[in-house]
């Protein structure tokens, strides 16, 4: 389908757009730094935070750029003095309902969004004193998702990601106005709802109100968080993830928002079942079976020699077809390649298989 391209003017510059794009998307391409809190590019635009309002010439009130379709000939101003003033007021209002602004980045992928904007606009904390809107669910004893709604700003990103991306519909916004609360069916704990603990709500939350409980266990470790891009070790979908480490410790997982297979999604295993890696049960040294019939720790040379010697003896005694290799569907391909090469290069047979039949 060929889409008609045409132009509009943003902050004095003529910008081309394709039909169906919103003003926000066009402005993003034109590198105009419009602030947002309820926006997640993967979700349907919602238009609740109103920070992204822009002035369109000929329209009385500012419009939300995230929900307004671009139209030919529009003349758009993204940061007039009046609009910047409203944005500051809005941020000060948001901060006024929030318990705190500084949150640990371990809480989630997007958890720094509010903090960053408050800094950018030098929004005053302490202005607009009044009641707090959120009620944290400390009674929810699940080990994965912290429901610290004292930090909630009712942007509905969690509700929308649960419905639009995960398809679980486990949470919704109950009540109305300032009393609005993110809730499950009958206000139950998550375990008693249709939540599958995929963690997508945690990762899209812009304030850390929903947070990764497992990652937060590492909050007291002084070292900085580093992220390493990899792929989830569980099923075959191949979700791209960022491994979060502090020093030598693997402290958590965040989905790669640009992961080609998952586009920011994960499941409970990929999101939370990472700590087998540094589990105390891990094998740390080679083992060989002793004359006592037990396995004993040993050094690499001894173990490798013993392994090689065993294969040599069997080949000598029973021939090259007596040796069989089983590769893994869990290891990287290099291991599988080496395994098949070990058998083929070593014995000239095809006595090699992997675990796909089980």
């Amino acid at each position: 389908m060929i889409q008609k391209s045409t132009t509009l003017t943003i902050d004095g510059a003529e910008v081309a757009f394709t039909e169906g794009e919103t003003l926000y998307e066009v402005a993003q391409r034109a590198r105009r730094p419009i602030p947002t809190l309820c926006y997640d590019p993967r979700l349907e635009p919602f238009g609740s935070c109103r920070l992204c309002v822009v002035q369109v010439e000929g329209v009385r009130n500012p419009v939300a750029s995230c929900t307004t379709p671009a139209a030919a000939g529009m003349v758009v101003h993204t940061s007039t003095e009046a609009i910047e003033h409203h944005r500051t007021t809005l941020l000060e209002l948001v901060v006024s309902e929030n318990r705190q602004v500084d949150v640990d980045p371990l809480r989630g992928y997007a958890s720094q969004e509010l903090t960053t904007l408050v800094d950018r606009y030098q929004a005053r904390t302490g202005r607009f004193a009044g009641a707090q809107s959120g009620t944290s669910h400390s009674e929810d004893d699940n080990p994965f998702i912290l429901r610290d709604y004292d930090l909630c700003i009712s942007c509905n990103r969690c509700v929308r990601v649960c419905a639009e991306r995960e398809g679980d519909y486990a949470i919704a916004a109950g009540g109305r106005g300032f009393q609005k609360q993110i809730t499950t069916e009958f206000d139950s704990i998550l375990k008693d709802s249709s939540c599958t603990f995929c963690g997508q709500c945690v990762q899209t939350c812009p304030t850390g109100a929903l947070a990764d409980k497992k990652a937060l266990r590492a909050a007291d470790i002084e070292e900085p968080i580093e992220k390493t891009r990899s792929v989830c070790p569980y099923c075959g979908v191949g979700c791209a993830v960022d491994l979060m480490t502090k020093g030598e410790q693997l402290v958590g997982i965040q989905p790669a928002m640009d992961g080609p297979a998952n586009e920011g999604a994960l499941c409970v295993k990929g999101q939370f079942a990472f700590d087998f890696v540094q589990h105390r049960d891990r094998l740390k040294q080679p083992l060989v079976r002793g004359v006592d019939g037990q396995l004993h720790e040993t050094d690499w040379d001894t173990a490798l020699d013993r392994a090689a010697e065993g294969f040599r003896q069997v080949a000598d005694k029973h021939g090259r077809h007596a040796i069989y290799g089983v590769a893994s569907g869990r290891t990287p391909s290099e291991a599988d390649y080496c395994m098949q090469k070990f058998i083929r290069r070593g014995y000239g047979t095809h006595y090699i298989d992997n675990c796909s039949r089980a």
Partner: protein, 525 residues
């Protein structure tokens, strides 16, 4: 998968059979949910009323192991009602006359008598799939883990070929792979029939190629599968090198498996934990795990992505490729002088036609789906566009066969097995992740509430579950996810070793075990 994951949002009719996708491939399932939300029709065939069935427009609750009959019935209706894609069949396929003649015998009423699915529903499914603009099939082990696994897959291919639902966006035959790099293991040649890149070992030119590459003569005939190797343990197989597989727990017929491994003269296991299998070994090597090593994996849509090291390995653990290479070197095999995973992967690319356009650096961002035959090739998200690999798509004439064992007076109940969302395989990993036990702490045998009552059981009661091969004790859970007469358990928990029961038969071609069908008996404890 013939089509990429993004295509899961594009069909107008989706046919899921033998896949519990919301639990086993949850992130892929999110895309199906989106398609359904956008108005796609979802047909789900599964013996159990799984979550996918709940969200379907049409649910076909077939009896375990009766897939071929269902698919024949559907093919019959598609043929009878003129929903075949004549142009596609003539241009792109072969053998359709014989196939269409064959399916004329199998009415939906006949299929109902085998599967238990109402004929009208079979007709509806056939009409929707047959008349779809873009029809797509998704399946998993519910199709392959049968004595007729190959027949099941071929029956699905027949449906796609007769309707032309292949080789286009939003269509295709899409098996969902169960393990992170099971596709990569096949790609890398860790199979008895193919060299790396699916180059058949029984093709003389491939044999010549690898004899030259590896500098030694090669067998001209295929190897044997792991199933046969275990059967031959102590008879003609005497040594095994097992990498990263808990064979004892994941494979069918555990007692047989244990006997086999104990019959070996030499067993070497490479793993990250001292698994039940490793405990039987003569030598155990500690491998680096995910997050501790660089490498490459291939996902279910043939996408090749990089794994990266983020933390140091514990103790003296080493990468699998290094361990295998070290053993090889100590046996005097040359060609194993690698200094990094990159060296290994680049060698694989150099001799695999489907990776020919790739190397370690080019896959940095994971944008390639094989085949990538040369450096200027963008990759192949959709297979079979315009042409099949071997020219024409071949119809196969398939007939229904009963499972290896069917229910009897002694074993009157069908057991089917599978996986659960919160645990993975034998729980070597998820069992060691904090918090998972909060969601799933033990295995339960899922039984329909009315069966529980009529078999004199109670919800939460312990029972003994027995097959021709053995018995296990397990706690009962009442759920209408199970149909009447069929019970379900996963094989994840070592204290409920379900695979003691399974292993009634194997597909004659792939030698995949019939893990999905096992007649059992239940006694209250």
């Amino acid at each position: 998968m013939s089509n990429p994951l993004v295509d899961m949002e594009k069909p107008d009719v989706i046919f899921c059979i033998g896949t519990n996708m919301t639990e086993c491939h949850p992130v892929a399932a999110t895309r199906l949910k989106k398609a359904v939300a956008n108005g796609a029709k979802l047909i789900v065939a599964d013996p159990r009323r799984i979550a996918l069935a709940e969200m379907s427009d049409l649910y076909l609750p077939l009896r375990v192991g009766s897939d071929v009959a269902l698919l024949l019935g559907m093919a019959h209706v598609i043929e009878r009602e003129g929903l075949v894609d004549d142009a596609f069949m003539h241009e792109r396929t072969a053998g359709f006359e014989e196939y269409l003649e064959h399916v004329r015998q199998f009415t939906p009423q006949w299929a109902e008598s085998i599967t238990g699915v109402p004929a009208a529903d079979i007709e509806q499914a056939a009409r929707w799939y047959g008349a779809a603009e873009r029809g797509a099939i998704y399946y998993t082990l519910g199709i392959t883990e049968h004595i007729c696994g190959v027949d099941n897959v071929q029956s699905l291919c027949n449906l796609a070929l007769m309707t032309g639902h292949i080789g286009r966006e939003g269509t295709g035959i899409n098996p969902m792979r169960g393990q992170n790099n099971i596709q990569g293991a096949g790609d890398a040649g860790a199979v008895p029939s193919n060299y790396p890149g699916f180059q058949a070992v029984d093709q003389p030119d491939n044999q010549a190629k690898f004899e030259k590459l590896y500098g030694r003569p090669m067998d001209a005939e295929k190897g044997i599968t792991k199933v046969r190797a275990l059967e031959g343990a102590g008879e003609h197989i005497f040594a095994m090198l097992i990498d990263g597989e808990n064979t004892l727990v994941s494979d069918p017929d555990r007692k047989h498996c244990e006997r086999a491994l104990n019959a070996l003269e030499h067993l070497v296991v490479i793993d990250i934990f001292l698994t039940e299998t490793a405990e039987l070994a003569d030598v155990v090597f500690p491998a680096t795990s995910w997050a501790e090593t660089d490498g490459v994996s291939t996902n279910t849509e043939r996408r090749i992505q990089r794994l990266r090291q983020a933390v140091p390995p514990p103790g003296q653990a080493k990468p699998d490729w290094w361990i295998i290479s070290q053993i090889a070197q100590r046996l005097g095999f040359d060609g194993f002088e690698y200094s990094s995973a990159k060296d290994v992967f680049n060698e694989l690319c150099s001799l695999s036609p489907i990776y020919a356009g790739l190397d370690w650096d080019r896959i940095e961002h994971g944008q390639y789906q094989w085949p990538v035959p040369h450096k200027d090739h963008p990759g192949t998200p959709i297979l079979h566009q315009g042409e099949f690999k071997n020219g024409r798509g071949l119809f196969k004439v398939i007939s229904y066969r009963d499972p290896a064992e069917t229910i009897s007076e002694e074993f009157p109940i069908w057991l089917t097995t599978g996986r659960r969302l919160q645990s993975y395989h034998t729980r070597t990993q998820t069992g060691r992740a904090q918090g998972i036990e909060y969601l799933l702490s033990e295995e339960r045998l899922e039984i329909h509430p009315e069966d529980i009552a009529s078999w004199g059981l109670k919800d939460g009661q312990w029972c003994r579950l027995s097959s021709a091969r053995g018995s296990v004790e397990i706690c009962v859970r009442a759920t209408d996810r199970s149909p009447r007469g069929t019970v379900f358990a996963s094989f994840s928990f070592n204290d409920v070793p379900i695979n003691i029961l399974t292993g009634s038969g194997y597909d004659p071609i792939t030698e995949t075990a019939e893990l999905k069908v096992c007649p059992v008996r239940i006694e209250a404890l």
